[in-house]
């Protein structure tokens, strides 16, 4: 196991099973370790690193605005970044872009991460995934393929029908023994087809699904976002929908369903959600500038992949705690205004998605959170 001391105890990354555990000071001592005095804020435990902004898919909502002639940072920059992650005690690095499989050295980069005790994972569109590329992906602990649904659903999110390519990629990766999951973007159009989408992904060999909120960043930061995002009823229905999906597709926990940080505020509308259980099972709301950081292709740190970059260089991640821009993000999370302040899931949710809030006009409570919507309507 890999232990990283924290002010409240330690994060522990297990190696015999894929899990990260938070333990208190007594737990640290039970491991036979001293529980040293440490000061926060902590470095991230997960980094999302854009290894290219090159991509030919042309998704209309690409958060990075990737293009076929995008930037491919030199390998040395990425090695320096991995060194900084190792020194800071980062547990997981997610390679993305752009299309990360366009890099010829992607397998070597994964091995470099492993050599530093960091678990490498990767996201791909699956387009153009040749046998040679699949072979390179064996170096990753897991590969997720973007798959928003069959045919029309996929096209509604991406602007072209790439569902067949994604489905082929899922099957081929699974057949090659690569642990493969799917990323499903939730929009007004894909939400209703979710059960069918996940069921089909599972039948193709996917081992888990991650549901992603559509976010107004990159090419998606336009008026079209307002037509794509979940409507208010769908946002309120997320909790019951997840409950039904879990019962139907993963009654034994064999097909894990994940939600991303930005979907957590929608759970505030579900009276059946147990806030203590959310915390117990390590659900992360907005961890931008906290447990999460993003590295851009230009080698700088951002609070998350959708947020504007800071001036902190990736190789200087050790200065994460002292960066003023990152500190401002954490400060909001530590003391949000109402209605977040009195919300039962505040400690997990942390105020919802700041990228959505900023798009709507202010770095404040998530304007699409059902609780925030109700609060604002009651205040009028």
């Amino acid at each position: 196991m890999i232990v990283r001391h924290e002010p409240w105890g330690a994060w522990v990354k297990l190696e015999s099973t894929a899990a990260i555990v938070a333990i208190d000071h007594d737990g640290v001592r039970a491991l036979g370790l001293d529980a040293p005095h440490v000061d926060g804020p902590s470095a991230p435990i997960e980094v999302h690193m854009a290894v290219t902004s090159r991509c030919g898919a042309g998704c209309k909502g690409c958060y990075l605005d990737a293009t076929p002639d995008g930037v491919e940072p030199p390998r040395e920059q990425l090695i320096d970044a991995l060194d900084a992650m190792r020194d800071a005690g980062v547990f997981t690095v997610a390679f993305g872009g752009g299309e990360p499989t366009t890099r010829a050295d992607i397998a070597e980069l994964a091995e470099e991460a492993r050599a530093r005790g960091i678990t490498p994972v990767l996201t791909t569109s699956g387009i153009g995934l040749t046998a040679a590329k699949i072979d390179r992906l064996r170096a990753f602990a897991q590969v997720n393929v973007s798959y928003d649904g069959a045919g029309a659903e996929y096209a509604s999110v991406r602007g072209y029908d790439g569902a067949r390519s994604a489905e082929s990629a899922i099957s081929a990766l699974a057949a090659a023994g690569v642990r493969v999951g799917v990323n499903v973007v939730l929009t007004r159009a894909t939400f209703g087809a979710l059960a069918r989408t996940l069921s089909h992904a599972r039948s193709l060999g996917a081992c888990e699904a991650q549901l992603l909120r559509y976010k107004p960043a990159g090419r998606a930061a336009s008026l079209d976002y307002l037509a794509q995002r979940l409507d208010a009823a769908q946002a309120r229905a997320l909790g019951p929908t997840l409950r039904a999906l879990a019962a139907e597709l993963s009654p034994d926990g064999a097909f894990p369903i994940r939600i991303d940080c930005a979907l957590v505020p929608f759970l505030s509308a579900d009276p059946g959600i147990d806030a203590a259980a959310l915390a117990r099972f390590g659900v992360f709301g907005c961890e931008a500038a906290g447990a999460l950081a993003a590295f851009t292709v230009n080698g700088v740190v951002a609070p998350c992949s959708f947020a504007a970059p800071t001036r902190l260089r990736s190789r200087d991640l050790g200065e994460h705690a002292r960066d003023a821009d990152l500190a401002r993000w954490r400060a909001y999370v530590d003391a949000p205004p109402e209605p977040c302040a009195s919300c039962s899931i505040r400690a997990v949710c942390k105020g919802g998605c700041k990228v959505v809030a900023t798009f709507a006009g202010a770095h404040g409570p998530d304007p699409e959170c059902p609780r925030v919507v109700a609060h604002r309507e009651a205040s009028r």
């Binding site: 196991m1 890999i2 232990v3 990283r4 001391h5 002010p7 409240w8 297990l14 099973t17 990260i20 555990v21 938070a22 333990i23 737990g27 039970a30 491991l31 036979g32 005095h37 440490v38 000061d39 926060g40 902590s42 470095a43 999302h48 190792r86 800071a88 005690g89 997981t92 997610a94 872009g97 005790g117 996201t123 602990a141 897991q142 590969v143 997720n144 990323n183 991650q210 997840l242 879990a246 019962a247 993963s250 009654p251 034994d252 097909f255 894990p256 369903i257 994940r258 939600i259 991303d260 940080c261 099972f281 390590g282 659900v283 961890e287 447990a291 998350c304 992949s305 959708f306 400690a347």
Partner: protein
């Protein structure tokens, strides 16, 4: 980073486990968390905790991260 195998006389108690994040996830743009365990039977939740307890009791320990030297006992886990 330091690595050592430690003879452990005691096990990490369940009460000391503040949070368990299962799986790797593999999304490069936002951080994901397994949610179906919240809706699963108590038996599945117990199985997850048992698996974690067994790993905590048996795996060798490596310590990573920058050394920090002040304490703020009020800080809570994320």
């Amino acid at each position: 980073m330091s690595e050592r195998t430690i003879d452990r006389d005691e096990r990490v108690s369940e009460d000391s486990v503040r949070a368990v994040r299962v799986g790797h996830g593999a999304n490069c743009s936002s951080v994901g968390s397994v949610i179906d365990t919240l809706f699963a039977t108590a038996a599945i939740g117990s199985a997850v905790l048992a698996m974690v307890a067994a790993a905590l009791a048996s795996e060798p320990v490596r310590v990573v991260g920058a050394k920090r030297d002040e304490d703020d006992p009020k800080k809570e886990p994320p």
